[in-house]
Symmetry: C2
């Protein structure tokens, strides 16, 4: 399925005009970065890069796309010919997926001709802005949960295709599973889920529903106990499944109080190994508020797939350098106040103290930094049009999840507090 | 492309268990509704239904899906056999796309066996929750703009596929165009866009960039004038394109002040017909704040594609009635506090006063209301498995846009104020 028209019209009209002025083949460097983190956030987590590699590969203009562009007079004949042959032949490097980032961090560096790089702008930003927003929110939930497992179950609160990306981004940030089956198939993420209230309501009694579920899924299943009355539901659940019942799920009520009562009841019934999972409109703050409660796992929906108040990461895609008419490299930047950018190719490193804790995001401008300047943050994703396959699919997703754990661990301890604050480390231009 | 795995795992485990207990073929009625509107909102706009009809048609389990479900032990052999033959054969009615809605409004009514209706839950909610969130935000921007045209240009701030849905939802709510080319191709929405700052930066001077754009797109194009200095940019734009210049775009700065200065400058230069379009982080409030400024059109990005603070509409999918083991219809409802639902099949009508203004959302429970009780709100979308094609594709999108204008017009005048308030009309159960 082509991704070519998942694009703003102006990318193609710029191509058209640049072909006209003979500037379309000037070598360029574009960078993706955030001017600032979402208000009060102390770090962000990069996500989407692995999906982006697939999307760039599928960015091809076949007859269906070309004829629509022609019929709608979006571009002229020269641009149509150029698009028919399009295949990105430049290079893309960027932060590892799962990496922490800060204001100004160049998450992606795209090098190629103006024409081949500019037309990827919308697609690159769509993928990275959404996935990064979800991963950044998910990471805060993971740290709030202090080691208790989290499952992403917000598919119903996101666009149907965005939901798959959200499941992947949450998994990269440290969630353990998702309810979304396509995310399981496409990216190898563990999937979970047993039953909704409708299943209980369908049956003539709660007992019949529990018996049906245990018959199909075994006593290690999770029974949803709050359709009618939680205390009766828990009692019935243990009666039906036995003390080997895997878990009970609570989806309503005053959770800290409710969870403690259910734990006591389960223990009194001898179901001491039965876990308690809660799923009632959780976010990083309500998860933190449940630290003292005997919760065994969390299911998180709306807040994670909508970035917990920040549904887009605010990443932009800016031209920072190009060759001019004389073939010389020039750094360029937009001058308008509040949206000013730093021109020039960037070489970011993470400056660490002697214990390996991050102390600064050091961005070298123009020239590569000396060896030993810090942990180099860019890895090559596409070299002269050839995609590095290790970073995509299930393998790339697993790699990104490992890296996120490493990168979070490198942050100063107070970076993980949930309260509003400044970026956890300063961005320094060198 | 199959939509079958865009689904939460528990929909399929419920199917599996219901086959086991022999309840999967019980006739059921599920309804989609919002318990409440997003905080402070006075009405919502239904969107996504036309897209949903396509997604339901594509909800088929082919070998690729079945073998993944088998290999991952998601369901047992009986459920796999059942899924292999799946095709929704029930009936779906619902609010017209573009319709206004309120707490409790049954936006979609799904009738079929438990098995065939329950497995659509996730897909239905994903499509409707996102599209409805966008349309509901977009409608507020349209009324804030008081007749001035709006263009949706937020693709880069939404997941790449969600962006297409967002463009469609904003258009239904009254936006006039989108930057998203796929939305143009799939749904017949007018597309727009000319150039970004990178195009100016690429050229050796702003003048060369403007000349290149005018050469390719003609003097009626829109020139972006704020890359360096707005006053010089405007002067140069008129010098290059002549007084027939179509429009200038301003993407930064203190807009009310800036726009007035640019209008005066354009008029002084003789470019009295040149329009001014603004695109700097707009939402319904900043649009309203520009009412006194000589703006000709608005381009809206992030805020519209993220629902302006409410990125999911909060719609739920609930079983409200089913046949029991004796074949009798029973109304069912979840009892837990705060999440209680009203059981029974609903027949909603809009109660109007003598001038045709809406005064109540009257929801008849159980039986159809008498003729003349108000404007009936449900239309049939799928009858015994057969989709009504008028409601999808470009035709359905255009119909939805027309209906949204009609439905907004029916609301009491103060429903359109932007400040926080109660739902514009009360929901009454009859």
């Amino acid at each position: 399925m082509s991704t070519a028209l998942l694009t703003d019209r102006y990318e193609l009209t710029m191509l058209d005009a640049a072909i006209g002025s003979g500037t379309h083949e000037r070598e360029c460097v574009f960078e993706v970065f955030a001017r600032r983190l979402p208000e009060g956030r102390r770090y962000g987590i990069v996500a989407g890069t692995g999906r982006l590699l697939d999307a760039v590969e599928q960015f091809r203009f076949a007859d269906a796309e070309l004829s629509w562009l022609r019929d709608n007079a979006v571009v002229g004949p020269a641009a149509l010919d150029w698009l028919a042959d399009y295949r990105f032949s430049g290079s893309i490097s960027g932060y590892r997926e799962g990496e922490t980032y800060f204001p100004g961090s160049p998450l992606l560096v795209v090098e190629g001709t103006f024409a081949e790089a500019v037309i990827l702008e919308t697609l690159i930003l769509s993928v990275l802005n959404y996935d990064t927003a979800v991963a950044s929110a998910a990471a805060r939930m993971v740290s709030a949960a202090q080691g208790r497992p989290l499952a992403e179950m917000g598919s119903r609160r996101a666009n149907e295709r965005a939901a798959v990306a959200a499941a992947r981004a949450a998994y990269i940030a440290g969630f353990g599973a998702t309810s979304n089956l396509e995310a399981g198939r496409s990216f190898g993420i563990p999937t979970m889920g047993t039953a909704a209230h409708s299943f209980t309501l369908l049956h003539d009694s709660e007992e019949e529903a529990f018996r049906a579920q245990v018959a199909a899924l075994g006593p290690a299943t999770t029974l949803l106990v709050d359709t009618y009355d939680i205390e009766r539901g828990v009692e019935l659940a243990v009666t039906v499944a036995g003390t080997g019942l895997g878990a009970v799920r609570i989806d309503s009520g005053d959770l800290p109080v409710q969870v403690a009562a259910v734990r006591a009841q389960l223990d009194a019934l001898g179901a001491t190994g039965t876990r308690i999972t809660v799923t009632n409109d959780l976010d990083e703050f309500t998860i933190a508020a449940l630290r003292a409660a005997p919760v065994d796992s969390y299911g998180v929906g709306t807040s994670v797939v909508t970035g917990s108040g920040h549904p887009a990461a605010g990443l932009v895609y800016k031209l920072v350098a190009h060759r001019d008419s004389a073939g010389e490299w020039v750094s360029v930047a937009k001058k308008s106040a509040a949206k000013a950018t730093v021109g020039g190719r960037k070489w970011p490193v993470r400056t660490l103290d002697t214990r390996g804790t991050a102390v600064a995001e050091t961005i070298h401008v123009g020239d590569e930094p000396p060896v030993g300047a810090g942990r180099a943050l860019l890895v090559p994703y596409i070299a002269d049009g050839v995609i590095d396959d290790r970073y995509r699919g299930p393998e790339g997703t697993a790699l990104a999840r490992e890296h996120a754990a490493f990168a979070m661990d490198e942050l100063p301890a107070d970076a993980l507090r949930l309260g509003r604050g400044e970026p956890a480390i300063p961005t320094v231009y060198a």
